[in-house]
Amino acid sequence: MGDLTKVTVDFETSHLVFPTIIACVLTLLGIVIVIRDRRRIAASGTYWAEVLGKMDKVRFFGTIALTLVYFSLMVPVGNIWPNTGMGFLLCSIPFVFLSGVLFLHDRDIRSILTIGVVAVVSPTLVWWLFTDLFFLTLP
């Protein structure tokens, strides 16, 4: 094959060799896909508008919002009682309850009570399992 295929890799920059190649391949594939699917890509605005129009906005964005609040509160709450996993336990109970109510369709007292019981029992069980039995750290 001669000298054409000869390459040397400088160790100092060897961390960039593979990422560069992959980036080139991705760009190339991306260009081909854009050319081939140009009509569909042009119509993607309408597609997303349709997705947003059809979606159950309360449940979808509610899930995202609840999840983000849940994640954000866990550490600050946990820092009040360090190394007890209380942050996880105290945040999970309202999270499980609220998202359960959010997902529920017919919000009658009986179903909400069931969710309430699950929301207290399951995080407590998991918390006990992980901290007391498995000795794993929870926030």
């Binding site: 094959m1 295929t5 000869k6 390459v7 040397t8 890799v9 160790f11 060897s14 961390h15 960039l16 060799v17 593979f18 990422p19 992959i22 991705l26 594939l29 991306g30 081909v32 896909i33 081939r36 597609y47 997303w48 997705v51 979606m55 159950d56 449940r59 979808f60 509610g62 899930t63 995202i64 999840t67 983000l68 849940y70 994640f71 866990m74 550490v75 996880f88 999970s92 999270f95 499980v96 309850f97 998202s99 359960g100 109510v101 997902f103 529920l104 369709h105 969710i115 699950v118 399951s122 995080p123 998991v126 992980f130 039995l133 498995f134 000795f135 794993l136 750290t137 929870l138 926030p139």
Partner: protein, 507 residues
């Protein structure tokens, strides 16, 4: 019997419990075997490798099998791999033969699972023995081969390949690790995130996000479909099951199990391809192809033995080459990594106990699945009525536990969960394929080391062709796979279209 020392009451109960939970996940539409494994992974941390695998393999087998219940009773596939079960299962239910259809499916699942387990047991050690001789050059080509196969067999070849490379790209974020022979420098890290992304995104939070959070976000988008009431589940009283239905179906059973196993061996190809291909071939070879789609037991037999054939097949490349056969086995890689064990050609030889334990666990899981589902099918059928508004919040909580405890308490892993959960939802709508993405993400770092080290030591690109005859064979396989699998995917697409047309046919 020292080699059976791993069989303890705990081991057995974990397999059985895993299978039961797996059946529940499989039977509820919108929840999959992969999700079951993702959610239960954190439970395996303190269990040790054999016991942890016992639980996960039970979940895998149960999850794939449970999908037949809603497929047959409600015309809704519980997992993607039971799509073709609906074609003949639901018409049978409409005729009042629900129980008979379910039992045909359960027996076929058992046969599919056991045949593929046999192939796994015989084939994986042989392949591993062969792969031990591979140098970095061949290992790189094997990964390239895996990528080419999974790209070509995804719904859309270009986008499949793109998804795979995107996975590789994202896996390279972080440090070029010194322990792999790298220079320890950072790359691809967005400014300001060096502290968090020094070792890149952790594998398990990414997997848990893509198979737990993404699925729940998708369900939330469509408004968390209501659970079904008990009145809607009609299992039928008049149907009597007898094993005579399998007379003349032995060939179909074996062929479908074989197809399922083979599809499982191909990396990145999901269960739906396995059942679609077995269903199509059963229809092609049948003396009465016109009966398919109208409640023909042979259709259920093909579909269910095909998708359970996956379970053993997908473990072949995982245990012999370190390449996961599907997304569920990709999660199993995580379980191995947690216990500090590298899967690859040396795995079986170095860990004979674990290997025996896995085979044994799969066997027990298949038998447990059969016993639980066959004799308690009337109760199992009620699983489809379990309300999601109770399950999903608990699953989300388990995802958080899984992500947080994976590296012993790193909050960034929980944020990784959020980032990739959202990414997965967007990817779903952009038709980026998750299975190739995941396999690219898992194999990316090894591909880099094999590639860069090969060039560093040979200084010549032609080494990828001239290194050995194995390299040449691998190139032939890569090129052949692109050609062949393009053909297969076209066939699968055509038959899927004709099946869809046939299924919607009112006649």
């Amino acid at each position: 019997m020292e080699f059976l020392a791993f069989i303890t009451p705990l081991f057995l109960s974990l397999v059985v419990a895993g299978t039961l939970v797996g059946i529940v996940f499989g039977a509820i539409p919108g929840m999959t075997a992969t999700m079951a494994v993702a959610v239960c992974l954190p439970l395996t941390y303190p269990l040790g490798l054999e016991n942890g695998l016992a639980l996960l393999l039970g979940l895998y087998v149960g999850g794939i099998s449970g999908g037949l219940v809603p497929a047959i009773l409600l015309n809704i596939p519980g997992t993607p791999s039971s799509i073709t079960t609906t074609f003949d299962g639901y018409p049978m239910t409409q005729r009042g033969e629900g129980e008979r259809a379910l039992k045909i499916g359960i027996v076929s699942s058992l046969v599919g699972g056991l045949v593929s387990l046999g192939i796994l047991f015989l084939f994986a050690p042989v392949l591993a023995d062969f792969a031990i001789r591979f140098s970095y050059v061949e290992k790189f080509l094997i990964i390239l081969f895996a990528l080419s196969v999974m790209g070509a067999l995804s719904n859309n070849m270009l986008i499949g390949v793109f998804s795979g490379f995107l996975g590789i790209f994202i896996s390279l974020i972080g440090t070029y690790d010194i322990s792999d022979g790298g220079n320890g420098k950072h790359r691809l890290i967005p400014p300001g995130l060096e502290y968090w992304l020094e070792s890149g995104f952790s594998l398990l939070p990414v997997l848990i996000a893509l198979f737990g959070l993404t699925a729940i976000l998708y369900e939330a988008e469509i408004g968390i479909p209501r659970g079904l009431s008990r009145d809607q589940v009609k299992i039928g009283d008049s149907s009597r099951f007898s094993f005579s239905v399998f007379r003349g179906q032995i060939v179909n059973l074996i062929r479908s199990s074989g197809i399922g196993t083979f599809v499982g061996i191909l990396p990145g190809v999901g269960g739906s391809a396995a059942s679609i291909l077995s269903y199509t071939s059963a229809k092609t070879f049948s003396k009465h192809p016109e009966r398919f789609g109208k409640g023909e037991p042979a259709g259920i037999i093909a579909s269910e033995s095909g998708n359970n054939g996956l379970t053993g097949g997908a473990l072949v490349p995982l245990l012999s080459l370190g390449i996961p056969g599907d997304s569920t086995t990709a999660l199993l890689i995580g379980a191995f990594t947690l216990q500090g064990i590298q899967v690859g050609p040396l795995f079986i030889g170095n860990n004979p106990d674990t290997w025996n334990a896995m085979i044994f666990a799969m066997m027990i899981a298949n038998v447990a699945m059969f016993v639980m589902m066959f004799f308690a099918i009337r109760y199992v059928a009620l699983i489809v009525t379990v309300p999601k508004h109770i399950l999903f919040p608990v699953i989300l909580m388990m995802c958080v536990i899984g992500a947080y405890t994976i590296n012993y308490g790193i909050m960034f892993d929980v944020w990784t969960l959020a980032i990739f959960g959202l990414f997965g939802w967007i990817a779903l709508h952009m038709r980026i394929e998750i299975a190739p993405f995941i396999i690219g993400f898992i194999l990316g770092p090894s591909a880099e080391v094999y590639f860069v080290k090969s060039i560093e030591s040979f200084g010549d690109l032609s080494v990828f062709v001239t290194k050995s005859w194995i390299a040449v064979v691998l190139w032939v396989l890569i090129i052949g796979s692109i050609a062949m699998s393009a053909l297969i995917s076209r066939m699968a697409r055509d038959s899927r279209e004709s099946l869809a047309a046939g299924a919607s046919d009112p006649v």
